[in-house]
Symmetry: C2
Subunit: 84 residues, 2 copies
């Protein structure tokens, strides 16, 4: 694996994992007023489309990273709807 591929994997891990602290914060505080419902609706829809795209082009990194991100953003969307 070359350095550029490693850079791409680090980038993917950061953008995917970044949603975890937001989910944890929303669970802990039970406050989501400042979160944008529009953002999490559009983002979650976009990630579902990325997942379908990844399945259709049979790209494992796209499938894997969007599966994980979908769990986090769906959780945040659920918390936003619950604690709005």
């Amino acid at each position: 694996m070359n350095l550029i591929t490693i850079l791409g994997l680090v980038a993917a891990s950061l953008t995917t994992g970044s949603f975890l602290p937001q989910a944890i914060k929303a669970i802990k505080t039970k406050h989501t007023k400042d979160l944008s419902l529009g953002m999490y609706s559009v983002l979650t829809s976009g990630i579902v489309l990325w997942l379908i795209y990844g399945i259709l082009v049979n790209d494992i990194p796209i499938i894997a990273s969007n599966c994980v991100t979908l769990v986090f953003t769906s959780a945040i969307l659920f918390l936003k709807l619950r604690y709005k």
Copy 2:
């Protein structure tokens, strides 16, 4: 352009554009307490790495979408630091 490519472009537009309503909300309300500083720090760092990756592999869609996303997430990070 085939249907799968169009699906990918729609997915990219949604995930990129999703951050705009959050930036607008933060500008309007001047409240960012519920936003996770950890999320926007890690996400913005990840997007910078995606941008470098896109430049190194000379992939225009990666460069373009991450340039736009970087503007939005940097703005949200700035607003989070300003109105914390």
